[in-house]
C-alpha cells in the first residue's frame, strides 16, 4: 500500500490527542483535590456553626430541642405558595411524601382491636401568613356523616383538635360534617357531656370526599395557638349505633399533659445562621427527630453564569470554538443540573446517612443527590451537643456544581485547545507535508521530464536554491543530469572527432596503396591480393566513418533538407519494390497499404533513410522465414508507421535507451559494422519532423519487436 508523506505526517499529528487525555487526567486530579478541600471547608463550617449555636446558653431550651416525641410533636411547615381553603392538596404537594402515616401505633382509643383497614390518615401542618393550616387525608371506607336533625358532634366521623392557648389553657374542638363542603369547628367546653359545644368561626375547614375516604383542610389563626397542639381522627362506622370505634391521633386532644409541641421553624436560630453567613451553602439544623428546624442559605451558587459579550482576542476565538463544540463536550463532561429545585428547605425531614451518625455523635461528610439526575450535594454533618448529649445536628451543604463546572471547564479547554491545535497546528503540519511532498513531486517530475521517452536528455532541471535536504537532492540530481547530458553530448561529438582525425590517414593509406598498385604493373597475384585486401579494409573503415559522419552531421543536414508534399502510402510501396526488396531478396515484406493516400509534408530522402534504418534493424533481429511487417495509417491527427518483426523482444528497460547515439543491443556478429547509430538516426529524423518514435513488443501473442513512428501530417509545412 502506498502511504503518501502527507498522510504519514497527518498520522503523526494525532499525537496532539494526548492533550485532551492530559486534560482529563488533570481535571480528575483537580476535582479530587478540590473535593477534598471542599470537604474540609464544609466540615469546618459545620463545626463553626455547631459551636456558635452551642455557645448560646438556653437557646435549645427556648427552641424546644429537648424531649421530643416523633409522633406527638407537630412540625410547622413554612408554606411557600398561596393557599386556598378547598380541601385539595394544592400547596401541600412538596411535603406530602414526608407526611407520616398514622395508624396502629397511634391508636388513642379503640372499641375493638384496631383494624388497619378501617381507618388511618396522614396530615400536615403549615404556616402561611398569620394562619395555621392543616390538611388531613383520611382513609376510611365507611364515611359516616352527622345525622340530620342531630346536634351530636361525636356520632359521626370527626376530627378532634386540642390546642393549648398562649395562656397555657387547653381548648378542645371538633370538626365534623353533615355533607362534604364547608365545615366549622365547635369548641367543646370542659366537661364534655355537660355543656353544649360552641361554634367557633375562627376555625374554618372544608370536607372533601375522596375515593379512599375524605380530606379535611382547615385554617385557624396562629393567635389561637400557643406551644402545643394535638389532632385526632375519630372513626364511626356503624350509621345506626354511631359509636366511635377508633380514635387515632398525634395525642389525646383532651389531655394537656400529652398533646405535642408545635414546632415552627426556629427564627432565632435562622438569625444566628444568617449572621454566620456561609455563601453558596445551605445550613440546616436538624433535631433529634431528624426534622429540619432551621435552614438558611441556598444551594444555588450563581457561579455558573458566564459573563457574556466581553470576549476579546484569543478568548473570543476559544469562546467561539467552545460554542461550536458544545455538543462534543457533552460527550466527555458530566452534565450540570444548574437549575435544580432548591425549595428551602427541600424537605421537612432530613434522612441522609450522615444525620444518623451525627445523632450518634460523629461528624461525617455525605454526598447525595437531591433526586435522580439532579445535582450532587455534599453535606458535612456534625452533632450539636448539649451537656454531653446530642440534641441535633448541623448540616452544611454545598453542591459540587462549582467543582464539576471547573472540571468540565478543564476538559472543555483541553478539547477546545486540541481542536484549535488540530485546526492550526495540524493544518500547519498538513501544509508543511503538502509543501514537502509537492516539492519532492515536482523534483521527481522534473527529473522524469529531463529524459524523454526515447532517451534524449532535455534541458537540465533547475536546481532549487533552498538549503535543505530537498535542495541538496535537487542540486545533486541536476549535477547528475548535467553530467549525463555532457556524456551523451560527448558521445555524439566523439564520433565526429574520431571520424575527422581518421579520415586523412585513411585517405593517405588508400592513396599510397593506389599509387603502389598503379606503379607496379606486374605484381604477382598474391602481392596484388594483399593490396586489394588492404584497400577493401580501408574501404570498410571508411564506410564506418561515413556512417558516423552521417549520423553526426545529420541534424545539420536535416535543417538544410528539402521538403515536399507526397503520398507516404505510395512512397512505401515504391521503396519496398525498388529499394528494400532488392537489397534483401531473401526477406518477405508484408505491407498493409491504406486504401486512401496518406499525404505528408516532409523530406522524402530523410523519411526513407529513417525507414531504411528501421527495416535494417528489423531484418537484423527477425527470425528467419518471418516477414517484416509494415503498417501505415492515420490516427486522429497523426500518421503512424509501424515496422514489426518477429524475433527477440527488446527488454523494457532498454526500450528508451536504444535510440541514443552509440547504443546497441546487438549480440550477434555481422559482416557490417554496427556502432549503434541506426536508431539514433531514426530518432533524429523523426524529431526533426516533430514526431515521436517508440519501441515496444508485439502485443498480439507473437514475440517480436515493433517500432512505431508517429508524424504530424503537416509536419514541416512551415518550411525553414
Amino acid at each position: 500500500m502506498r502511504i503518501s508523506l502527507q498522510l504519514k505526517l497527518a498520522l503523526i499529528s494525532l499525537v496532539l490527542l494526548v492533550i485532551p487525555f492530559t486534560g482529563f487526567r488533570l481535571s480528575g486530579i483537580l476535582k479530587d483535590n478540590l473535593l477534598e478541600s471542599r470537604r474540609e471547608t464544609l466540615m469546618f463550617s459545620a463545626r463553626a456553626v455547631a459551636s456558635a449555636l452551642t455557645g448560646r446558653p438556653g437557646l435549645f431550651d427556648r427552641e424546644l430541642f429537648h424531649a421530643l416525641d416523633q409522633s406527638r410533636d407537630l412540625y410547622l411547615i413554612k408554606l411557600s405558595s398561596p393557599m386556598r381553603l378547598n380541601g385539595k392538596t394544592e400547596g401541600w404537594e412538596s411535603h406530602l411524601q414526608e407526611a407520616e402515616e398514622f395508624g396502629k401505633d397511634h391508636v388513642i382509643f379503640s372499641a375493638k382491636p384496631y383494624d388497619a383497614n378501617s381507618v388511618h390518615f396522614k396530615y400536615l401542618v403549615g404556616q402561611r401568613g398569620d394562619y395555621l393550616w392543616a390538611i388531613f387525608l383520611v382513609t376510611d371506607h365507611h364515611v359516616v356523616y352527622q345525622e340530620n336533625g342531630s346536634d351530636r358532634l361525636d356520632r359521626s366521623d370527626h376530627l378532634q383538635i386540642g390546642v393549648e392557648d398562649k395562656d397555657g389553657k387547653l381548648h378542645r374542638y371538633i370538626m365534623t360534617a353533615r355533607k362534604p363542603g364547608w365545615i366549622n369547628a365547635y369548641e367543646i367546653p370542659e366537661g364534655f357531656d355537660e355543656a353544649q359545644p360552641v361554634e367557633n368561626d375562627n376555625i374554618q375547614g372544608v370536607w372533601v370526599e375522596t375515593p379512599e375516604g375524605y380530606d379535611i383542610e382547615l385554617r385557624m389563626p396562629l393567635a389561637m395557638v400557643g406551644h402545643k397542639l394535638a389532632f385526632a381522627v375519630a372513626d364511626v362506622n356503624d350509621p345506626v349505633t354511631r359509636d366511635i370505634e377508633t380514635i387515632i391521633g398525634t395525642a389525646d386532644p383532651g389531655r394537656i399533659d400529652q398533646i405535642g409541641w408545635l414546632l415552627p421553624p426556629s427564627t432565632s436560630i435562622i438569625d444566628i445562621l444568617k449572621s454566620l453567613n456561609r455563601p453558596h451553602s445551605r445550613i440546616l439544623i436538624v433535631d433529634s427527630n431528624q426534622h429540619i428546624r432551621a435552614s438558611y442559605g441556598s444551594l444555588k451558587t450563581g457561579d455558573d453564569e458566564v459573563p457574556a459579550g466581553t470576549e476579546h482576542g484569543l478568548d473570543a476565538v476559544i469562546g467561539f470554538v467552545n460554542r461550536i463544540l458544545t455538543p462534543l463536550y457533552r460527550l466527555f463532561t458530566e452534565p450540570l443540573a444548574s437549575d435544580f429545585t432548591d425549595s428551602s428547605p427541600q424537605s421537612a425531614t432530613l434522612d441522609i446517612k450522615g444525620v444518623e451518625e451525627g445523632m450518634d455523635g460523629r461528624s461525617s461528610i455525605t454526598n447525595y443527590r437531591i433526586a435522580k439526575g439532579q445535582v450532587e450535594v455534599m453535606a458535612a454533618v456534625t452533632p450539636l451537643f448539649e451537656k454531653e448529649k446530642v440534641i441535633g445536628v448541623v448540616v452544611v451543604e454545598q453542591t459540587t456544581n462549582a467543582i464539576l463546572a471547573l472540571k468540565n471547564k478543564v476538559i472543555e479547554e483541553s478539547i477546545g485547545m486540541t481542536i484549535l491545535f488540530f485546526l492550526f497546528g495540524g493544518m500547519g503540519i498538513f501544509l508543511f507535508a503538502f509543501r514537502i511532498s509537492s516539492r519532492i513531486r515536482r523534483l521527481r517530475n522534473q527529473a522524469a521530464a529531463a529524459i524523454t521517452e526515447n532517451g534524449q536528455i532535455l534541458d537540465i532541471l533547475q536546481p532549487v536554491s533552498s538549503k535543505d535536504e530537498i535542495g541538496d537532492l535537487s542540486r545533486t540530481l541536476a549535477s547528475m543530469l548535467s553530467q549525463l547530458k555532457n556524456q551523451s553530448e560527448y558521445r555524439e561529438k566523439m564520433a565526429d572527432n574520431l571520424e575527422h582525425e581518421m579520415r586523412t590517414p585513411l585517405a593517405s593509406v588508400s592513396a599510397s596503396l593506389k599509387n603502389l598498385a598503379k606503379e607496379t604493373k606486374d605484381l604477382p597475384d598474391h602481392l596484388n591480393n594483399y593490396v586489394n585486401w588492404a584497400l577493401s579494409d580501408v574501404l570498410r573503415l571508411e564506410e564506418l566513418l561515413t556512417s558516423i559522419r552521417d549520423a553526426a552531421s545529420l541534424r545539420e543536414a536535416l535543417n538544410q533538407g528539402f521538403r515536399e508534399n507526397f503520398d507516404l502510402a505510395e512512397a512505401l510501396s515504391l521503396w519496398i519494390a525498388h529499394s528494400w526488396q532488392p537489397a534483401f531478396p531473401a526477406v518477405e515484406f508484408a505491407y498493409r497499404r491504406p486504401d486512401s493516400p496518406v499525404p505528408i509534408n516532409g523530406d522524402p530522402d530523410r523519411i526513407r533513410q529513417m525507414l531504411d534504418k528501421l527495416i535494417e534493424n528489423g531484418i537484423a533481429f527477425h527470425s528467419e522465414g518471418t516477414p517484416i511487417e509494415l503498417r501505415l495509417g492515420k490516427e486522429r491527427e497523426s500518421i503512424f508507421i509501424q515496422v514489426a518483426n518477429q524475433g527477440p523482444e527488446i527488454p523494457v528497460e532498454r526500450q528508451g535507451q536504444i535510440f541514443n547515439s552509440m547504443v546497441s543491443i546487438r549480440t550477434q556478429k555481422d559482416s557490417k559494422p554496427h556502432l549503434g547509430l541506426g536508431l539514433f538516426i531514426v530518432r533524429t529524423i523523426v524529431e526533426h519532423h516533430r514526431g515521436t518514435v517508440t519501441a515496444g513488443s508485439l502485443a498480439d501473442g507473437r514475440t517480436g519487436a515493433i517500432f512505431t513512428v508517429r508524424l504530424p501530417p503537416g509536419a514541416l509545412s512551415q518550411s525553414k
Binding site: 593517405s508 606503379e519 571508411e542 552521417d550
Partner: protein, 231 residues
C-alpha cells in the same frame, strides 16, 4: 603543353601521394605545405590549376585565404578545394570564393581527381577558344547548357556552378523526367560521396537557381529514391 598544378596540403604523406599520382598523369606538380610557402611561389609564377587543402596546420581556413589571394592574382585560374570535412563545402559555397570544384579527401579521391582535373582543363580550353565553334549546346525550356565550357544559363543568366554541380545537373537534364538515383548521380559526377553529400549538392544547385528565379522548382526529389528534372 604541360599544365602546372600547385598542391597545397599540410599532410606530408598525402601530399607526396597525391603529387606522385598527378605527376603520373603527366602534370607538373609543385606542392606546398603551408600558406606562406604557397603564396610566395604564386607571386613568382602562377600555376595553371591549384588544389588547396582548407585546414593547413593550425590555420583553420588557410585554404580559403590562399584562394582569396590567388583570385586577386588571377580571376580565371581553376581552383579545387580538397577537404576532410563535408561541412567545409558549405563554407566554400557560402564564401563564394570562386572555387571551380571541391572534393572530400577519401579513399576514392585518387580515382576521380585526374578526371576532374582534365575536365577542368578542357573547360578552360573551351572558354579560351572561340565562342560557339564546336559547342555542344543543350537547351531545355528556360535552361541552356554549354557543355564544353560547362556553363549553365537560366533565362540567359549564367549560373556559377562547380564542376560537381555541373555534372549532377547535366546528368539530370540529359534525361528530363527520369529519376536518377544517388548512385547514378555519383557516377556521372565522378565522385563517391554519401547520400547526404549528394543531397547537399542538389540543395546548393537549387539555391543557385533560386538566386536567379525564386520560383524555380524543376529539380524534384522522388520519394527519396533520387532526383529528376521536370520541365
Amino acid at each position: 603543353m604541360t599544365y602546372r598544378i600547385a598542391l597545397v596540403e599540410d599532410e606530408e604523406m598525402l601530399r607526396a601521394n597525391y603529387s606522385q599520382a598527378l605527376k603520373r598523369e603527366g602534370y607538373m606538380v609543385s606542392s606546398y605545405a603551408n600558406r606562406q610557402e604557397a603564396l610566395e611561389a604564386f607571386t613568382l609564377q602562377l600555376p595553371d590549376l591549384a588544389i588547396l587543402d582548407i585546414m593547413l596546420h593550425d590555420e583553420m581556413e588557410g585554404g580559403f585565404e590562399i584562394c582569396r589571394e590567388l583570385r586577386q592574382l588571377s580571376p580565371t585560374i581553376p581552383i579545387i578545394f580538397l577537404t576532410a570535412r563535408d561541412s567545409d563545402l558549405d563554407k566554400v559555397s557560402g564564401l563564394r570564393l570562386g572555387a571551380w570544384d571541391y572534393l572530400t579527401k577519401n579513399t576514392t579521391t585518387l580515382d576521380f581527381l585526374p578526371v576532374r582535373i582534365s575536365a577542368l582543363f578542357k573547360m578552360l580550353e573551351a572558354l579560351r577558344g572561340a565562342t560557339g565553334s564546336s559547342e555542344h549546346i543543350i537547351s531545355a525550356g528556360r535552361l541552356r547548357i554549354e557543355e564544353e565550357r560547362k556553363q549553365v544559363f537560366w533565362d540567359d543568366r549564367l549560373l556559377n556552378l562547380t564542376l560537381t554541380e555541373f555534372w549532377l545537373l547535366f546528368s539530370l537534364v540529359r534525361r528530363p523526367g527520369h529519376v536518377k538515383s544517388h548512385e547514378q548521380l555519383m557516377e556521372s559526377a565522378n565522385v563517391v560521396v554519401t547520400n547526404n553529400a549528394i543531397a547537399a549538392h542538389i540543395r546548393r544547385i537549387r539555391e543557385k537557381f533560386r538566386e536567379i528565379d525564386s520560383t524555380f522548382d524543376a529539380i524534384r526529389a522522388e520519394y527519396g529514391m533520387g532526383y529528376r528534372w521536370l520541365e
